[in-house]
Amino acid sequence: MLEALGISAPALFGQLLIGLINGSFYALLSLGLAVIFGMLNIINFTHGAQYMMGAFGAYLLLEHLHLGYWWALIIAPIVVGLTGVIIERLFLKQLYQLDHLYGLLLTFGIALIIQGLFRNYYGSSGLPYRAPAELQGVRNLGFMFLPNYRAWVIVVSLVVCLTTWFVIERTRLGSYLRAATENPSLVRAFGINVPRMITLTYGFGVGLAAFAGVMAAPIYNVSPLMGADLIIVVFAVVVIGGMGSIMGAIITGFGLGVVEGLTKYFKPEASDTVIFVIMVIVLLVRPAGLFGRRV
């Protein structure tokens, strides 16, 4: 049927698949940004650099310690998350009484430092990283070929996103988090250690970015600036979705990935800008964002 319309099914589904993959990363990263923003009231500009650190973590674990993908998937997010905890304790903690803009400026500075350091040691070109043996190969779905690794990325990010949503919206820990977001001093008065919760939330959000980075390593090349441009697109995703809702961040992330994939098929030259154009339209029609409350 599609052929009758002059559309090549394998190419179309191929782009859709790439869209879903990109959407997985948008969802994971905007989810982390939303969680961090909820607790810390800071837009974490370092997020892209921390995503890159996750990918480099996978690369370095393999190069120096001969630990493969599966180990990297566990170790890299924890280590990068710990660096996040240090950043929060040392720097971000001092900014909570100040205007939000300082948080943006500080995390931008930290991102410059991290990206600059990695560029010094590893150059700007991409380093290859192979998908694990268990996930290599492709599956024939009849209408298209699906590389196993890509299917794995989509499934795992969906699971991680939905688990995060479940923990925040449906568990006791999540209710503490949400309460602390609304009124930290009251929650503190109930004997809950809010500062520690803030630190762990930042560590978790950063770990999530690093997790996305490890998963991205076999798909994109590992390079110091891999997160720098991505984070700006994720900002647009966040503006479109609004940061008030966890589920909103997930749906917007995947949805925009798919739209971008479709654009790549139908109008490839517009694929870099389509998300920004959607942002403009959303700002005109629904200024608070698709899932946002008026801020």
Partner: protein, 321 residues
């Protein structure tokens, strides 16, 4: 909550003599400096100083953080370069063409961005700038990776040869001083006072009957227009417009200059631009370390010197600067 700008310094009025004295020192410095320092370096400082002053008008006085000011700077540079090279316009007309484009872009981007506040405002301006960056990469007339090279400086008003380094320097200094005085006038006008009121407490300004969105939009357009003047002039100084000028790192740089010099101070952006341009010049041989050092300066300023160099000085001397 501590504000972006220390209200004590920003609001304190009456003691204009300190600003007049500082202005005299600044003018004297830029008149004498070419005898000692390489003029192209000074012209770069002047262009970036105007760019930072324009940016400061927005963050320092209206409290709006635009993280996409490279858009207006870079696109004005492209259009000015193209007008001078392909349409053979005289330099002043070429600069005005670039500036007009920056004003138009600012009107559109500003109208969109002020629909959201605070942190979202910053993200929207950044995203719009990134969108226009991709246009600059793909548009045929920008020359892609090469940019627009060998832009002729031409004859100012058809008379003065800007190919002469001294003439060019005087022209750039005049442009900078004109822009600086325009910004100074805006800051100290009733309009500027309303901007400061919006920065301090927007709901209260609204309750006093001010249409704050309009004030913010006008401030945004003024800021982008002056950023355009700076970008267009820079294109003539270096005879080059390239992707560097529209990249997000340029937006970050102007934030850094203003932060180092002092947000919401009149002379801060000029000092900040001088420091950052000098730093990049003298540290160029360290290559990638420049980015790292910029990051360290960012972090240090945010954590320890939120008032910036000029802000700290003004605070120590208890005078507005």
């Amino acid at each position: 909550m501590e504000h972006v700008v220390d209200p004590l310094i920003a609001v304190k009025r009456g003691a204009r003599w300190s600003e007049a004295a500082a202005f005299a020192v600044m003018v004297a410095f830029f008149l004498v400096a070419p005898a000692m320092v390489y003029p192209v370096f000074l012209m770069k400082v002047l262009c970036f100083a105007l760019f930072a002053c324009a940016f400061n008008l927005l963050i320092g006085y209206a409290g709006l953080l635009s993280f996409g000011h490279a858009l207006y700077f870079g696109w004005a540079a492209y259009v000015c370069a193209y007008a001078a090279k392909s349409w053979h316009l005289t330099p002043e007309i070429a600069i005005l063409t670039g500036t007009a484009l920056a004003a138009g872009l600012g009107l559109v981007a500003g109208a969109l961005a002020i629909r959201r506040q605070g942190i979202y405002f910053a993200m929207i301006t950044l995203a719009l700038a990134q969108m226009m960056y991709f246009f600059a990469v793909e548009a045929p007339f920008t020359g892609g990776e090469d940019g627009i090279q060998a832009v002729p400086r031409g004859y100012l008003f058809g008379v003065f040869d800007l190919g002469q380094q001294a003439t060019m320097y005087i022209f750039v200094l005049a442009v900078f001083l004109a822009g600086f005085l325009v910004i100074y006038r805006i800051i100290h006008s009733p309009f500027g006072e309303v901007l400061k009121a919006i920065r301090e407490n927007e709901p209260r300004a609204i309750s006093l009957g001010y249409k704050t969105d309009r004030y913010k939009l006008v401030a945004f357009v003024l800021s982008t227009t002056l950023a355009g003047v700076a970008g267009a002039t820079k294109a003539l100084v270096f005879q080059l417009a390239s992707l560097t000028d529209v990249h997000w790192s340029m937006s970050g740089e102007v934030v850094l200059m203003t932060l180092v010099g002092g947000l919401g101070t009149v002379f801060g952006p000029v000092v900040g631009a001088f420091i950052i341009v000098a730093m990049e010049n003298y540290l160029a041989e360290f290559g990638q370390w420049v980015t790292v050092i910029q990051g360290v300066v960012f972090v240090t300023c945010v954590l320890l010197f939120r008032r910036g160099v000029v802000g700290e000085l003004a605070n120590a001397l208890k005078i507005p600067l």
